[in-house]
Symmetry: D2
Subunit: 343 residues, 4 copies
């Protein structure tokens, strides 16, 4: 079968001819219908830190996926052959302290699909039954593959109680765009999105932004204060990882507000904790992955009920063979989500 | 000035010519622009239990109102003459145990506008400054007067975490209709409304119901189970007070679900607490009034941002003189909200 | 091996000579060091409804247990031979909707140890690895076996936010006594326990009750009001299942308070829902089982740190052979927990 | 009357002979029985930033106080002459956005007793009735005056859900020592306190610390990891404001843990937000003041019920005349709380 894999301990990926995976007793074999690109895949392509320490080539990449179950292991009860599924990429051990207290998204012995085992940039992928999510038959492939990615944003927004709130979203990459749409669906009464380009501004508006703030052209904090009677935002979702975004997030927030963080700054950041955090009486929540499986329930239902339409975020659809083009457009930052199809 | 008042300890109301209220140091005088009818007003009209024990005629009725401040007491800082305001009708003492722990909606020494002091079915009403809510100038009078009433439903829905949930609403009177629209705005993924008439069904659909269940024609519990893969609803909002609604609510709910109650059954109800509550591992929340003032913030913002359009719920607009007609249509149950205008 | 089993579809249990269980790939074989009696066991002994519909003799009873792992299946990674463990008796399927949203305590396909598979009133018991809880070596057997039972009360108290609160506990059977001690440890500032006998009153005092109310001799609601400045209790934990306890619980509670229910009333109960629940603006939570595994973490830690001493609740220690005596003392209601030892 | 006041825009305080305050309609006059020193008072004494920008001499200092009501304004209903009260020092306006959403501890127009109006380092102090807290007659003066200060720590601990948790407290000044005792009372199963001196270690042990870590002599993070099976603490309360404490707090915390901050670092702090906050999936809460009035309820009840004994934290009792000595011992850091008595 075709598979896009890291074959060398170096930058780049290759289209290879690989064996169809052998499944174990607790696994299903999935015929991949669509797979999508994550920022992590770009970093692995570039062989950026910390991936060289973790990935052992040859390794098929890809962890966002949907497809049809074509074979199942002898212990599998969670799905039948013919089922249309997506997969959660975090394979938890279910026995560590974090799993036992409800945090399997931060399992202490986590394995990742497409990183620690072969992934979904291929015609077939083996998925542990505990990681299966069944989709409604009517869900389009290009939507079904995006649920894991959208789930990060659902977890971010659900932790932030946006109903009736003034919400700011820093960053209009895929996670910020998902968060814009989700905040709208969950009842934020005013949504401000901080963007860097007109390309992203346009999609943010389609997803429900009320106010667009261009970080290159406007005084971000001033605009947010101005739109909130000088009080500051009730909720800030930091989805950009930009160097100054956390400082601006804190300064844009009202006292007693909520800052939720998904973006990953590249460097340490210096903050006046006394003034901007402690005396501000605020809440901060870091987001890693997505709550299993509450986040999938919400994600799937919002999509299936058509409460949210995420098609504006899908900017590129490509055959899997054009994985180099997919990586390139994602790396260039001029894309929403890039979806690929093995056939 | 004109005022609609209970003049006798008996059924009925009268249009009277009253003095414009004298305000105290902490009060404002409001020129009433719109006032709206609540089910309580109908009960007081009918002189139903327990109102004869509480109301001392002569008493001007009315507690849902908006208007313009035309005079203010010497201690008033919360509003200026010319401000467009609505009023919260629960006048809390701010010093009792409930007020001190954040429950001023259930103040132990509560006074009610239009019950314990003269109300808003008049050309002018005196309002304590602590009960003022300032409105945006652009909000229509017929909307601004409905915020207190809508607030009951906002409190109900916000206590129920409807995002991404299967939600059932029993009752499509005004509170049920508000709750339908609010559940939609706050992200419920499937909304089922149990109604009694085609009149109410039509408005429920306009407010965002996905499924209408007619309680006279359908097996309510069976329909709900059927629409939820046999699991039952995640959330039930009981807004009807109907005799069998609580039993049906409990049976429609999935294990671990949320039942939130605003409807007031007239008689004691017999329930199998072991099976339907304890072993079901569910949450139940009674709703009295609305959270001061978090509920007003959400209500005002959802309206001002046009996230919700409540105009389908306003079925009747009448001059204050036609208060008898207003009472009659409300009592007949063939109405949403009835709004009256003194001028 | 010795095993106490239901051998006939009729009242009673028998001491039998059974085969040591064959374990599966995902199971461990446990040499039972202590097992304890639950009210459920008494009901099964008496062949009360609904157990005849569920239990298929021969069936070894018992679901509260601790012991040493003496053999493990080929897939087991959660424990080693020699580990000292307790077992959770609810065997969840981990794939149903309830399991996926964090409610594996109410799994839709639940199996119970000692009910659906052979249990722990025996020298050896087979336990699925997912149901293992590892104990500190220093924990006494008679304590370690009680963690599942105590866990019900930990879940009840943790759902009720007792810190700094006036707490009433209805019932001083084992779950009420555990709840008394746990409420004390978690910071309830005043603990009132409603008891029926002097025997239970004495243990309740040992566990930390500030006020004992004898339901046969005192006006329960009046005493509670009197001890709370007429306001009512902040929190009521209903652990008795007594016929009038829910009505008294509701009447004892202050407006806006919390009622948490573990006791199982035998018959339907008639309540004035309008006055005692809706207008009271209260929260009610039904409790089924215990949160997996957050409850075990808290239970184990409170015991291991000696923050709580539950030895006063252990009123009887018997060899397993004396199971008839164990059943008899539990049925007579003159006991706390009864612990049995196979050797 | 005697009053200790800032008389000049410069370092220092003076004992002056002042007029007994004239009270307004909404105020009570309190005969001060005890007042206590806060770190803020030391900063004002030293005329540290930002106090010169805010305080206008002459100004009587002091905001922790208890005493007897000796006179009341004409509108006062919350207390009677003869009542024994303490006072909350934050005077909220009750009408701003923060007050309306339940955050009167961060009122946007806050006035502070002993800063913006004359305070309690005097024989008499005027207190607005909304800031009165009534004490049980049996509470000792030296305890009653400490409730506002202890309340900061109660708010910190209550926001952190310490029940059954491994809790680390950085800093063993008064707020850290209060937090140690409160964490113990609210059910933390293991309490580690990071101290700088043997003096503070001794009091921390008296307040319930299980493990003392000396930050000068031990590797703080390593000790915490070691005491938590390498996992890290569930909860960290940062009460020191020390320069490296926030970095150590984050590194000591387990993934998914809770960091609550009351200490005020003097300078900006550089943190790796990606690794130590976002990917760690943690919660951070800044603490400003204390929740009005839920915190007072808990504080008063824990003291009145003798669940907690805070007398080890009171290291100095002095007549008000010895205010210079009080400032000196507090500034030297070799004290717990310093309580002063005007008579």
């Amino acid at each position: 079968m075709k598979a896009v894999a890291k074959m060398q301990k170096a930058k780049g990926l290759e289209m290879t001819e690989a064996e169809v995976p052998q499944i174990g007793q607790n696994d299903v074999l999935v015929e991949v219908k669509a797979c999508s690109l994550c920022g992590t895949d770009v970093h692995i392509y570039n062989w950026d830190h910390p991936w060289p320490d973790r990935i052992k080539p040859p390794r098929t990449l890809g962890h966002e996926v949907c497809g049809i179950v074509v074979e199942k292991g002898s212990n599998v009860t969670a799905a039948e052959v013919g089922d249309f599924i997506s997969a959660e990429s975090h394979i938890a051990d279910n026995t560590c302290y974090q799993c036992r207290i409800g945090n399997s998204n931060i399992c202490m012995n986590m394995k990742l699909l497409g990183v620690d085992i072969n992934g979904s940039f291929a015609e077939y992928v083996s998925v542990p039954q505990q990681n299966i999510w069944k989709n409604p038959k009517s869900m389009p492939y290009e939507i079904a593959t995006l649920q894991e990615s959208m789930g990060n944003s659902v977890y971010t927004v659900e932790e932030s109680n946006v109903n009736g709130k003034n919400v700011v979203i820093f960053g209009a990459g895929p996670t910020g765009l998902f968060a814009t749409g989700i905040s709208r669906v969950l009842g934020a009464s005013q949504i401000m999105v901080v963007v860097g380009t007109e390309f992203h501004a346009r999609i943010a508006k389609q997803m429900g932004a009320d106010i667009i703030i261009n970080r290159h052209e406007q005084d971000v904090v001033k605009e947010i204060k101005s739109a909130t009677d000088g009080i500051g935002a009730d909720v800030v979702l930091e989805m950009s990882g930009a160097g100054d975004a956390i400082d601006q997030s804190l300064k844009s927030l009202r006292q007693g507000g909520q800052l939720t963080l998904l973006g990953l700054p590249l460097r340490p950041i210096s903050i006046d904790w006394s003034k901007d955090i402690v005396l501000k009486d605020i809440n901060i929540k870091g987001i890693n992955g997505r709550k299993l499986w509450q986040t999938w329930v919400t994600t799937s239902r919002l999509l299936h009920s058509k409460r949210i339409d995420i098609t504006p975020i899908i900017t590129h659809k490509l055959p899997l063979e054009k994985y180099e083009e997919a990586i390139a457009v994602a790396a260039a930052g001029q894309s929403g989500k890039v979806v690929m199809f093995p056939k």
